[in-house]
């Protein structure tokens, strides 16, 4: 009987084959240097039309979207794309420590993942960036014309940390654990070296190195196709995304915006938990993104 999964302890690689979709799945530790990233690759057994790297979010967002991300990767692979998901060093299952996380380190990891997949598949990959991963995707592909799908991308790290701090304060007040300390997030960071945001310590290194890296700048000036997905109950693109879209279109980017029902508060997992596959919003999110990415990646084929 043919084994459908195998493990190579030396290579720190596990392989399985999905008999329904005929996709080979590889879970591994990879990357240059001694501190390895965790990665998960899906390769169709038939004709491979292209490749995609999925740049993940961090902190609570990582937990919140993980299954959506997996469903997307499966859908893309079923349509003929090789898909690599990875965890930045110091996050997820990767080696390294969260205290050493910096913007530049995460960008290095993203570039390593892109290079690794390009070498493996012989083609430059398209990108999907989710929340903070949107910044990483944009920065890593700044000088390329790779198509890019962004789910609720972080527009500005300062805004990201402000929203996180607000959620932290709300939770503490709701739980009767006291109100704000009276110090700003930055003041607390500089005083203590780290601040705990709902169970996730944020260190000064990440905050300082991320400052000033806005999504509009990281996307650069080289036009490319871009899908911008907003996941809230609003009917129109939020002002920040509408402004971003207009600015990119002025630079010659082709921007498709999509609004669908999704997360309202990214920092509160489990309050109204429901199985991911059962959510209407998830089906639409995966379907819209898959159709767009497959179409755009296929367009680039020589």
């Amino acid at each position: 009987m043919q084994r459908s999964s195998a493990h190579d302890i030396r290579e720190r690689l596990a392989v399985r084959r999905d008999p329904q979709t005929r996709v080979r799945e590889e879970a591994m530790f990879f990357g240059p240097g001694s501190v390895k990233m965790f990665g998960y690759l899906r390769i169709p057994e038939g004709a491979v039309l292209g490749a995609v790297v999925v740049c993940p979010p961090i902190h609570e967002d990582f937990m919140r979207v993980y299954r959506k991300q997996v469903l997307l990767a499966r859908a893309l692979a079923a349509r003929g794309l090789a898909v690599l998901g990875f965890h930045y060093r110091g996050t997820g299952n990767s080696e390294g420590e969260v205290r050493d996380l910096t913007y530049d380190g995460m960008l290095d990891d993203t570039r390593s993942a892109i290079r690794w997949l390009a070498d493996r598949m012989g083609v430059g990959p398209g990108l999907v960036g989710i929340r903070w991963g949107g910044l990483m995707a944009a920065a890593a592909a700044k000088d390329s014309d790779a198509p890019m799908a962004l789910w609720e991308p972080t527009i500005d790290p300062d805004l990201y940390f402000r929203e996180a701090t607000r959620a932290n304060t709300v939770w503490h007040v709701q739980e009767g654990l006291g109100g704000p300390s009276g110090m700003s997030f930055e003041e607390e960071l500089r005083e203590h070296g780290s601040v705990d945001l709902l169970g996730y310590p944020v260190y000064l290194g990440l905050y300082e190195t991320a400052g000033g890296h806005r999504l509009a700048d990281e996307l650069g000036d080289r036009p490319r196709p871009l899908l911008l997905v907003q996941m809230t109950r609003n009917e129109r693109l939020r002002d920040r995304y509408a402004t971003l879209s207009r600015g990119l279109e002025d630079k010659g980017f082709s921007v498709d915006g999509h609004v669908l029902e999704g997360e309202e508060s990214w920092w509160f997992t489990g309050v109204r938990w429901e199985p991911e596959e059962g959510r209407t919003g998830t089906h639409e999110l995966v379907s819209v993104t898959t159709d767009w990415v497959v179409h755009r990646v296929a367009e680039r084929r020589p």
């Binding site: 999964s5 939770w171 169970g199």
Partner: protein
Amino acid sequence: MSETDLPRASEIPVFFPADGETLFGIFTTPADEAVGTAVIVLPGGSTPLTTDRNRISVRLCRRVASQGYHAMRLDYHGAGESTGSLGWLQLDRPFADDVQGAVRWIERQGVSSTVLVGSCFGARTALSAAAETAGIRGVVLVSVPVRDHAMGARASNDAALEWSLWTYLKRTLNLRVIRGLFDRRHRHVYRKYARAKLRKVSARLRRRDHHGSADTPDGLGLASPHFLTPLASLVERGVPLLLVFGTSEGHRKEFDRAMAGRLGEIVQRAGRSIEVELLPGRVHGFRSSFLQDAVIDVISDWLGRLDAQTSSAEDRAARPVAGAASTE
């Protein structure tokens, strides 16, 4: 203690079969001499992944590996990279099959003894699986719910137990709640609270509280039989258990309340084989990195004592019995 202070363990990704699905996990092997036992870490229902919140499962696995334990963390079926699909999580239907799959895979690697560590839904899964599994050296239950409720229903069930009908009326008759009746999501929450109270009232009317027992099978009693039965079984077998709660969390209050019933009898019978550790604040949900570290320290210390107890028991077993005749 940071990971860089620990001896470097080796981790490999693994796939293993469990009840018709293929589950994903990460297996950690100790850097130094192995004690021959694997710790399987089972996450809570709202964070059903190998990592759990802020990588607490990752950090725990690497810490126990520094003590000589193998470790496994996994994605439940239907979660993370595992196949299958997750339905609504219910505490009386934990994922014992997922654990059995992990245990069988670990046994094939030559490690036949296991410690199960779980939080919340993971704790109920650990308890249920341990009762059905041979070779369990110990079980750690972090913020274990002693009653049954579906994911997201604990608050409504607590209210059904604690609020009188007059309290329900007072809370309902205000403008905010009335406005909420026009919102689909709020109506869903109000229905949950109303149903929970109706179940409690109808159970009381049917006089299901037999023989003055504080534990009722209606899901709103003090402790579920799905908690008490496996716990009693482990106590009978002499399996050491560590329970960890936050001092101000709901699950700790539930536990204390349930001690008035059959749970109290079980704990008394267990004697020193059940330890209860209280940490300040709310452990459930791991919303504090300080408490995450404290939980890891508590578990690590307990495992150290567990290993020492077993080693001295093995030493005692190996020593010749005084007065026995030589067979040579």
